[in-house]
Symmetry: C2
Subunit: 338 residues, 2 copies
Amino acid sequence: MPTLSDIADDVGVSTMTVSRALADKPGVASDTRHRVLESAKRLGYTVNLEGRAPVKEQTQKIGVLVNNVGSEYSGEIIDGISNILDVANYDIVIFNPFKMRRSPNEYVVEVCQYAIDGLLIAAANRLQPQSVEYLEQAIRQHFPVVFIDQRVAGSTVPYVTAQNRQGAYDATRYLIQLGHRRIGFILGPHTESPSGERLDGYRDALAQNGIAQDDQLVKNGDFTRQGGYAAALLLLSMDEPPTAIFASNDPMAFGVYKAVQQSGKRIPEDISVIGFDDIALSADIHPPLTTVRQPLREMGRVGAQMLLDMLRARDEPPVAVMELRTSLILRDSCAPLR
Amino acid sequence: MPTLSDIADDVGVSTMTVSRALADKPGVASDTRHRVLESAKRLGYTVNLEGRAPVKEQTQKIGVLVNNVGSEYSGEIIDGISNILDVANYDIVIFNPFKMRRSPNEYVVEVCQYAIDGLLIAAANRLQPQSVEYLEQAIRQHFPVVFIDQRVAGSTVPYVTAQNRQGAYDATRYLIQLGHRRIGFILGPHTESPSGERLDGYRDALAQNGIAQDDQLVKNGDFTRQGGYAAALLLLSMDEPPTAIFASNDPMAFGVYKAVQQSGKRIPEDISVIGFDDIALSADIHPPLTTVRQPLREMGRVGAQMLLDMLRARDEPPVAVMELRTSLILRDSCAPLR
DNA sequence: TTGTATGCGTTATCAC
DNA sequence: GTGATAACGCATACAA
């Protein structure tokens, strides 16, 4: 690709004059400027940002690490991030490490080396201590990092998350109020912090209402439809199956829908289903899903704003934690126990 | 962030020795190497890729431009791209321009300036002629670009796409074979090339079976659930509503489901629905969606492979066009006309 | 208005 | 085994 000096040679001026002309800076004769622009167009010149970055020491780009770009979950978070960063004149570069060759841990380091001014890490499952340590060091060196929807115990990396425990408590209590006593629970992966928090909320509600814990009713899942489907099959085939199922995220609830519908039962008449997320699809499927809304867009926005604050006030200690409220969205997938 | 010379000062050697030691290259005393590595670790050093890129002139990164990171459609294409690029030792950087501040056209130029060795453009709707022209120039300057699922008339940019017309023809003929005569069609955005091709296939099938075109039955859509829902409401409220609806992608078919279910009608007993894509969700919703499968992962793989070929054989003319076959996936959303 | 010198962080080359 | 020098593409500071 052509460079500044190619144009300089072409026009017969110095690279500096070319640089000024292209950057639309004052101090270039309008005749010279025209000749430069014409030459640049003819040669097909575009800046090489790699050359500019080391000089300017900022790229106006923020990296975003997600683990599944094809999910509405990620899409909504990224949307929220865009909202804020657009206004602040930052671009977004998305890295999708968890489907990639490298281990997530190496990848975190690599991403930080990239031409970005800061990093947002969404749903950073499987992050090992050494990676977290590396991130903390990066922050000390004024490279801002923020976790979104991920709490890392004992770490100083700032994060924004939802009130998972409270949300799960609310959902479970709602089912109990409808008369349900045998409530199945489908876990998320144990590597993600919200999973355990939601389980805690579920248990809180059972305990507070004098319902004995039955570990048979808690099945492993992985936050995917397939995982929810598999777990639901297990629950439905129990000797004494649950009358309600709490899937700890919405995609797993869709998997539950599939299993229930295949079994010939109806939602909510025969079995109540409740989810967690409130992604857009949840309102559109049939029957519309009752779920715990966590403000994914808002989490993206808040995370981005925290990052910008760290970027602007380099020496002040960053806001460490933001917990956003959840709310129970009542739709048509739950009914009183018959 | 610390640099090579910080370590050099710390250890008391030259930057060159540090560079060699960190790159694991021969010609460094093992004692020196150890001291360098120790210092690097202590200081929290990581390479600055922006400094390396201008020297090496390649970054082992490929850019991917998509317009909706939250869709299964994009997710599956990106997945296919990963499959190929992982093996070839390239990383993927995803740009999500169409939700961003800049116009897509400026953005295309900007992305090319970024630290990437090539660019895959998926579903590049709204690309104006000047952008396409820019991309063609970039290709001439050995910066490889490939379109995925996008055909640009009169352009020399290589692309991979599906046989949209044939696929839509097959779907429509299937409905006709089931006895349907009034078949609604929901368009994609006119800015995307597959939209028109699918409409053509639909019309081909009607014409070949002696069914008169009724433009009332063709409604605008935008490849989103909401768009499909709105279009379906229009179709269902017609004086003589269609007995089958062909949504030209799967998300719009889900929108049709919602409208039909709200109207109290049943799929497929009262109305048949057929989609186009075969994203994973289509098999999981109720009833499972009959749809035209286009191999999205395969399109990602093929596009990535075309890019690698261009990268490797810089002077040979690239493969211009790849068209992948579609296939009709029969599930439970279509039934014979009663 | 234009050009020169210098530097960013890294690596290749060629000395020693 | 190690280091000085130059180079990548660009921009800042200063000189002409």
